[in-house]
């Protein structure tokens, strides 16, 4: 399972970087979305994939028995998803406003503030 995840995450990162390097601002935002999802998947798989072993404490014991799935990366991913959602919705609105004001979808036309 892990090698498959690694390949999938790699493809996501590659696609994200490719999209971010395009000139269109819409593609830039799509790239950012793919990038944050790739990062989330990567965190999700860092602790390893454990099947059918929820981190529950059996009745009468104080600690779970045997190998269990690590719940922490999932908590981290939840937090990261929420943050990414908020930030990306901001980015989408920003791109729309920028298009309304600058009237261009081309990053090359947005270099008045450079140099």
């Amino acid at each position: 399972m892990e090698p498959l995840m690694a390949v999938a995450i790699g493809i996501l990162f590659a696609a994200a970087i490719y999209m971010m390097l395009r000139r269109s601002i819409v593609k830039l935002v799509i790239g950012l979305m793919l990038l944050s999802n790739a990062a989330n998947l990567l965190i999700f798989s860092t602790a390893g994939m454990t099947r059918g072993a929820p981190p529950l404490v059996p009745e009468g014991l104080t600690a779970p028995e045997g190998a269990i799935a690590d719940p922490l990366p999932q908590a981290l991913v939840l937090t990261a998803i929420v943050i990414a959602f908020g930030v990306l919705s901001f980015a989408v609105v920003l791109v729309r406003r920028a298009w309304e004001i600058v009237r261009a979808d081309d990053l090359d036309k947005m270099k008045d503030t450079d140099t």
Binding site: L35, S36, I43, L94, V95, A98, K111, D112, T113
Partner: protein, 505 residues
């Protein structure tokens, strides 16, 4: 139980919430802005006094003992940074009373400012690496919204670059945190530091160190990742520029200091060597960029980049004296740089432009403003007896003692070029005669009360600069003590995890 550890985070959060409740009342928002930031400054001073007296203070959220819960850790560096946050927050809040337009205030200028301060203070005080990421995001979201308040064309263009690069750095940071967790199975920074010493795969540790360096390097605007800063910092309202210039990049620098003294300090020959190159090139590229500019705030933005280089240089040399210099430099720089932006705002209000070509004659018309500009400007260039001289002196002396002559020569040269830039502003804005009225639209008359509100924070920050310059002993002692703490990670680990913990070699 030390409530003062959590208060610098809670007070801005609460003031932001109260500010939101009074969404329609301009007066209440303004009162809360000044009251909240003053409260932040007072608790920050309280925190600094406690840390100075009792050593590293730790607070476990929800009484979950480290490393299982989230810990807030206040060591001297963190406490100093929080005090600086309070100073800049208060100065900018007072300044905003005069400069924030009604349009900005109606769209949540003050609540966002409180949120930004909460994010910054949280980043300085957290002892948990994932929590650091969360505070970074709190700070970033607030800064995004502040950056585009007003929705002008330049702001949109600047914001797209700012948002993209900062999100990229956040993602890199997040990936690095995830991989680090995969390696050591903990998120508490003290626990990470303890367990990382036992990791055998040094190559992977170095790779992670590089990811953190890139992520924080983008936030701190270090070479070669600084291009977003000069493209965006001159676009928002000037009070926002000052707030960003004083605090945001310094959060990145703080994170570099924290991570590369506590966690990744085992192979300085590799990581700190790269930091050293980065520091030298940051200083040089920033100052050369500034030399080509003729817009007040853009010159200052490029100088943020070059000054970041000095702070990273202090970290990269990694000798006790160099760390003292780095910490001292941060203290001096935050105050001076925010002050210069505030002065540029006054000049803009009086002269109607940020373009140096269109300004002039201020020495004749407003001699007091010339003095207020010269204090931070000469301090930035490192002229004695102002604060910048001592900061540069310590860093450069550390460079010579560490026999890093190349980068020390760069630091000296950059000091000279900084002076050139400041003199350029001085001659163009203050010295030369007023340019003939061209296409500049007539500017509304400035009321006396407005001018006082703008000048008061500038005078206050100028006095801070003079104080650090003329009576540096207590500040230097603070920097020295915090450097000693930074170079003794074991003390940090023991303070967070408890005395009984076994510190791995």
């Amino acid at each position: 139980m030390n409530p003062e550890i959590a208060l610098p985070i809670l007070i801005p959060l609460m003031s932001g919430a109260v500010s939101l409740v009074f969404w329609r009342s301009r007066l209440m928002q303004r009162l809360v802005a000044v009251g909240g930031t003053a409260g932040l400054l007072i608790t920050a001073l309280w925190l600094l006094a406690s840390v100075n007296r009792e050593g590293i203070l730790v607070m476990h959220m929800g009484n979950w003992a480290a490393p299982f819960g989230i810990s807030l850790v206040a060591d001297l560096l963190g406490a100093i940074m929080v005090v600086l946050t309070g100073i800049i927050g208060l100065a900018v809040a007072i300044y905003s009373l005069a400069t924030a337009g009604r349009g900005h205030e109606a769209y949540g200028y003050f609540p966002l400012m409180h949120l930004l301060l909460a994010g910054v203070a949280g980043a300085f005080l957290t002892g948990d690496i994932f929590n650091l990421y969360v505070w970074f995001e709190v700070m970033l979201v607030a800064s995004f919204a502040l950056l585009i308040l007003g929705s002008e064309k330049a702001q949109m263009e600047g914001a797209i670059k700012y948002v993209t690069l900062n999100l990229l750095s956040s993602v890199i940071f997040l990936i690095a945190v995830g991989l680090l967790y995969g390696m050591v199975g903990t998120l508490n920074m003290a626990d990470i530091a303890r367990r990382l010493a036992a990791v055998e795969d040094q190559g992977m540790v170095d790779a992670l160190a590089m990811m953190f360096m890139v992520a924080f390097g983008i936030k701190a605007a270090a070479f070669p990742l600084f291009f977003w800063l000069p493209a965006s910092y001159h676009t928002p309202p000037v009070a926002v520029s000052a707030l960003f210039a004083g605090l945001l990049t310094k959060v990145g620098v703080y994170a570099l200091f924290r991570v590369f003294t506590l966690i990744f300090h085992h192979s300085p020959g590799y990581t700190h060597e790269i930091l050293l190159w980065g520091a030298g090139l940051t200083m040089l590229s920033g100052v050369l960029g500034a030399a080509a500019q003729f817009e007040f705030r853009r010159i200052l933005s490029f100088h943020i980049v070059s000054q970041i280089g000095y702070m990273i240089l202090g970290l990269a040399l990694f000798t006790p004296l160099a760390i003292v210099g780095g910490v001292f430099y941060i203290m001096h720089h935050i105050i001076v740089k925010a002050n210069l932006f505030l002065v540029s705002g006054i000049v803009h209000r009086l002269g109607g432009s940020y373009q140096l070509k269109r300004l002039g004659g201020f020495y004749r018309s407003h001699p007091w403003l010339a003095v207020l500009f010269l204090i931070p400007a000469l301090s930035l260039a490192g002229i004695p007896p102002l604060s910048g001289f001592l900061a540069k002196f310590i860093v450069i002396r550390a460079g010579i003692e560490a026999e890093a002559y190349g980068v020390t020569a760069i630091a000296l040269l950059v000091g000279l070029l900084t002076l050139y830039s400041m003199i350029k502003i001085w001659t163009e804005v203050f010295w030369k005669s007023t340019p003939p009225e061209g296409d500049v639209a007539p500017y509304p008359e400035v009321r006396q009360r407005e001018l006082w509100l703008m000048a008061a924070p500038v005078v206050g920050l100028g006095l801070c600069t003079l104080f650090i310059g003329l009576y540096p002993a207590p500040i230097h002692a603070l920097a020295e003590a915090s450097a000693a703490q930074l170079l003794d990670p074991d003390a940090y680990i023991r303070a967070v995890l408890g005395e009984g913990v076994e510190v791995l070699p």
